[in-house]
């Protein structure tokens, strides 16, 4: 079954066209990697999918589980199961991690018509998820990401994902700023969450992450379009020859030049 369908998506920021006709279908349970050089539109794509302000959609549509995703507010997308793992998780001094986790989980549960978890059940659940990303319990009582290392911030993102159990996870440059140990931990966390009902879109510049989280499909994004799609072997090819060749690729069929 289709989870996400992006059709001929065009988007501008500050008058500049960044996405120029993206087509992509993600089915339930699939892991897609979107790779591309800097400036290809990778971050714009994740921002548009999660509803960050400042982008103008000029053409196309995005259907998520039968709904027009672009009409929903960011929080409505989140409650329906779309999760963005941020490239740069923001620090929020004064808001404790545990408060954030609880508020986020309750927002999702409320949308699903479930009661809020009581304090004990909540803590039990959070503890079990923390083991998954090897996070110490002291992180619960610290302000969100404040003073966390790069790796701790990314693990915190995966912890939130594990707790919220999204249908569609969009991972924006999750490997950036991670040393090899942190990358392994984060990848193990993600792999544990793979399931036939859950889909992933991983946006990444480097192939490295894909050694740990093996995708079903790899797409190459260049100048706002997907110029090539393939399986995991495509990523290895990119690793070898870099992105220079993608600029010479022909326009995909059926797309205006």
């Amino acid at each position: 079954m289709k989870m996400l369908e992006i059709k001929n998506l065009h988007a501008k920021i500050e008058g500049k066209e960044i996405l120029r006709g993206i087509n992509l279908t993600v089915n339930e349970g699939e892991v897609h990697a979107i790779m591309g050089p800097n400036g290809a539109g990778k971050s714009t794509l994740s921002n548009v999918l999660t509803g960050r302000e400042g982008y103008e959609i000029t053409q196309g549509e995005v259907i998520y589980k039968g709904e027009n995703l672009l009409e929903l507010e960011p929080e409505e997308r989140a409650r329906r199961g779309v999760f963005l793992a941020f490239q740069y998780p923001v620090e929020i001094p004064g808001v404790s991690n545990i408060y954030l986790l609880k508020a986020a989980l309750n927002a999702v549960r409320k949308h699903q018509g479930l009661d809020e978890l009581d304090a004990i059940d909540f803590l039990t659940l959070v503890r079990s998820k923390m083991q998954l990303v090897k996070m110490d319990e002291q992180f619960l009582h610290r302000s969100v990401n404040e003073g966390f290392s790069g790796g701790e911030k990314k693990r915190n993102e995966i912890l939130q994902m594990a707790l919220l159990e999204p249908q569609l996870a969009i991972m924006d440059e999750t490997d950036s700023g991670l040393d090899i140990d942190a990358l392994k931990t984060v990848s193990e966390g993600v792999n544990a969450l793979r399931s036939p009902e859950r889909s992933f879109v991983m946006i990444t510049h480097y192939q490295r992450l894909l050694d740990y989280i093996v995708p079903d499909f790899v797409h190459v994004l260049s100048e706002g379009r997907i110029v090539k799609s393939g399986d995991k072997e495509l990523a290895k090819e990119l690793e070898k020859s870099g992105y220079s060749w993608v600029h010479d690729a022909p326009e995909p069929e059926g797309q205006p030049a």
Partner: protein, 432 residues
């Protein structure tokens, strides 16, 4: 105009009618006479007066305040208590409410009474911390004050429970004005916690004029919390002033949520070596509210320290003023003074005038100050929304997060919880 010319309430006439109270106390009588003369000369300050530059008293001058209750006021203090177990004095519409108060079983060494019942003792400390000539409400308060709390802690006494003052304007008498004087005297090596709450019915549209004078002897320590949560149609003018002897500590937290116009003057004189003052402030204003905090710290002798953090959240058309003066006097070497004022603006219509002032006349000191004005961080907002929090809750949460460190500094856990609750309810656009 340095002086407000148009004052509709005849405060001097009210003072004359209250003279009977002071008949038996020569010191108070003299002070009141001086205050009347001073008030007749200077009245209330106009905006040409430097300390009143951003706060106009014009609308206060236009009010016809009433000094007699038309019907007895009543207040349910159940919701107003910030701590359960306390020695408590409740004042409703200027009168002590004995049934709501709790002053039983005071330990040895502690005196807590209504001001009106300790006139002779309290008068000994009157106007030691405030100056009648200062432009503002000192003269008015001195000629009109007729109630308040008197606290005296004997040397070497650590008070076992907080002392709580709850002042309510019930709103039963329209435009009702209260003039209160609190006197707090801590003896050598004593310790106490004082919590004062000013509240009112939503309809209350009167005036609360209060001066709290504090005297801290050597090694005395006062934890002092003020919560002002009066109605948005009410006027509130207050001074908290302390003189501090050697090794004394005054931890002052000043939270302003209510009032149409609220003005606080907070003043510490560090007169003894190793004395310390903490000034924590928080103001949350919205609508057409106007809040003005003027603080002043005098480092008069060597080796004194001060730590001041004032934070403000402004919404809608509100206006806030912060003026923080730190004066390091000549010879006050090794002073360590830190001051900051940070403001969060939630709308385009609000205005903040912030002015940290440091006057340093000694050369071996450590002083820092800063002020900042900012808005909700859009990246934080998006992050929270991307985690499913609706925009209103996310903004509310970020607003609370901004203010939280002032609350975190409250050392009494129960008090911290109840003040958190009060503030959450007052967050712009509902609680988190």
């Amino acid at each position: 105009m340095k002086v407000l010319t148009d004052i509709h309430t005849d405060f001097a006439a009210v003072a004359n009618s209250r003279d009977v109270m002071v008949a038996d106390n020569a010191h108070w009588k003299t002070l009141r006479q001086q205050a009347k003369e001073q008030f007749e000369r200077n009245g209330l300050p106009g905006r040409k007066e430097e300390d009143w530059k951003y706060t106009s008293l014009w609308s206060l001058g236009q009010e016809q305040f009433v000094h007699q209750v038309s019907q007895p006021g009543y207040a349910d203090i159940h919701e107003l208590k910030l701590v359960e177990d306390a020695y408590r004095l409740v004042i409703v519409d200027g009168r002590v409410d004995l049934t709501a108060s709790y002053l039983d079983g005071l330990p040895e060494g502690l005196t807590v009474t209504p001001f009106s019942q300790s006139i002779d003792r309290a008068s000994e400390f009157l106007n030691q911390q405030v100056n009648l000539e200062k432009p503002g409400f000192n003269a008015m308060n001195t000629m009109l004050m007729n109630e308040g709390i008197f606290i005296e802690v004997a040397a070497n006494t650590k008070v076992d429970k907080p002392i709580e003052l709850i002042v309510v304007n019930s709103g039963h008498t329209a435009h009702y004005a209260m003039h209160l004087r609190n006197v707090i005297v801590l003896g050598k090596d004593s310790q106490a916690t004082f919590i004062e709450t000013y509240a009112g019915n939503n309809q209350a549209n009167g005036l609360t004029d209060v001066i709290t004078e504090i005297s801290l002897a050597d090694k005395a320590e006062l934890f002092h919390y003020k919560l002002q949560r009066e109605s948005l149609d009410h006027y509130h003018v207050a001074t908290m002033a302390a003189s501090q002897a050697a090794d004394s500590q005054w931890h002052n937290t000043n939270i302003s949520l209510g009032g149409k116009l609220a003005r606080n003057d907070v003043h510490s004189q560090l007169l003894g070596e190793q004395s310390h003052v903490t000034m924590n402030g928080l103001y949350l204003v919205t609508g057409e509210q106007h809040i003005d905090n003027h603080t002043r710290i005098d480092h008069a002798v060597p080796n004194t320290t001060s730590e001041e953090v004032y934070k403000g959240v402004l919404d809608e058309q509100s206006h806030a003023v912060f003026n923080g003066k730190v004066i390091v006097h000549k010879d006050a070497q090794k002073t360590d003074a830190n001051q900051s004022n940070r403001n969060l603006l939630l709308s385009r219509g609000c205005e903040i005038d912030t002015k940290p002032e440091m006057e340093i006349y000694a050369d071996d000191v450590k002083c820092g100050h800063g002020s900042a004005v900012g808005q909700i961080n859009e990246d934080q907002l998006f992050f929270l929304r991307a985690r499913g929090l609706d925009e209103v809750s996310a903004r509310s949460l970020l607003t609370f997060a901004f203010a939280v460190d002032v609350i975190e500094r409250i050392s009494n856990e129960e008090l911290k919880q109840s003040i958190t609750g009060v503030i959450e309810k007052r967050l712009p656009r509902g609680g988190a």
